[in-house]
Amino acid sequence: MAKVLMKGNEAIAEAAVRAGGLCYFCYPITPQSEVAEYLSRRMPEVGGTFLQGESEVAVSNMLYGAAGAGVRAWSTSSSPGISLMMEALSYIAASELPTVVVNIVRTGPGLGGILPSQGDYLQAVKGGGHGDYRCLVYAPSSVQEAVELMPLAFDRADRYRNPVIVLGDGMIGQMMEPVEFREHEFPPLPPKDWATDGCKGRKPNIVNSLYLDPVKEEELNQRLAAKYERMKQNEVMYEEYMTDRPYEVLLVAYGTTARVCKTAIKKLAEDRIGAALLRPITLFPFPSARLYELAKPVKFLMSVEMSCGQMVEDVELGVRCEKPVYFYGRQGGLVPTPEEVVDQVKKRLGKGA
């Protein structure tokens, strides 16, 4: 299929439809409302379900209901809306239901602003809602990658029976890039024999997260923990940039800031400074093992983010605190520029800016 020029938000919507994400609930919030606008027209064409709910609280519980009934249901929102979904996501994780939630992150805390941010990193990768759970988190760095990750997100949600978060930012959502929709093949999924889709010919199925018996609750907690360990073993994704040549600095960045870092690395090379990039594509699980390997030759690592350094602790853990980990970031919707990253690296190398 030929390439088409699409806004990230619309491309995410189309990719989800093609991945069989035919049940979509939403509540408008900038900068992701184009997903809902696109699907309000697209879902009727493909016989899917589109519903604008009364709040993100309701929307996330609609996800719970539909996912519990065995339907591939998903939603999109942006930071404040995602906060409102956290309770239901905790229930969804606890009830072991599959769903995909896309967060086109805006600035915060509070109402914040509508510009791009990476300030929801901790919320996304460390659980976010109450209780002992994790979400599988994908962070696309281009519109094309967002399109590739959507089918994977749906597949993994079903395979692990766990919520999957696609963590974009305002830039990924609003930017237009050429995209190509490719066919994706996945191994067959197990039947959803746990779904509440009618008890004809079987015992009733119950979707539930209430465990009054501590032994039963602990069983659930340990089953979930084992699931997250399996994710760590099998689902880590990352991209390396310029790691095939000598480097003394390792930048770590995801999403939009990773692209900024690539330009910065090219500029540094012009000044004969060897820098490389590790770009986590999965934020949970974090590519810790590879980070440790890649950090061996470097003087220091630098985490570059559109936040106040939320990923730094994962980088420090990844390198087991054996090397200095510096941070450079911008906040408030400002995006670090390649020039700023170059200056920061030079400063830390003692080479002046």
């Binding site: 390439k3 020029l5 900038t30 900068p31 509508i114 510009l115 305002g170 830039m171 609003q174 930017m175 237009m176 890039e177 050429p178 939009t256 692209r259 900024v260 690539k262 330009t263 910065a264 090219k266 995006v335 520029t337 390649p338 020039e339």
Partner: protein, 181 residues
Amino acid sequence: MQTEVVFAGFGGQGVMLAGMVLAETGMNLDKEVVWLPSYGPEMRGGTANCTVIIADEPIASPIILHPRDAAVMNRPSLEKFCPSLRPGGFAVVNKSLIPVDPEREDITVVNVEANKIAIEAGSGKAANMVMLGAYVGATEVVPFDALVETAKKVLQKKPKLVPVNMKCLDQGYGIGQAARA
């Protein structure tokens, strides 16, 4: 080779569409492209701008602090963007609405009476296409026939608008070419 251009103006002047046509033309030529808008309340009638990047290699940072070129349709846009252009770049300036000139000696300035030309062509709303034509005429960042083909495709849902838009593209292109010479 990477070219960056900011299209900027009031909301409603069609700068987003102009950028989109350019980006899509680049895509149709198998180039790497990014179209990055300013978004939010700015869409509703304030100032609007979009950045278009066209490159031969994959585009790393979509955020360009110092674009090479700009096409500015109102005075605030000129004041905002022209000082940050890289030396050797191009500034297409809508003289219908901007009484001043960029205070730069190191860039090529293309003056276009975009609104006047568009009104004479049949629709003031097509001033954006005059700007786009002039930009491509001056920079040859994409071949003009590829631009025309894409513009026709983009506008096909409103066939009535095609002739006037084509006329505007064409006239703008002529002015751009003349400035190049």
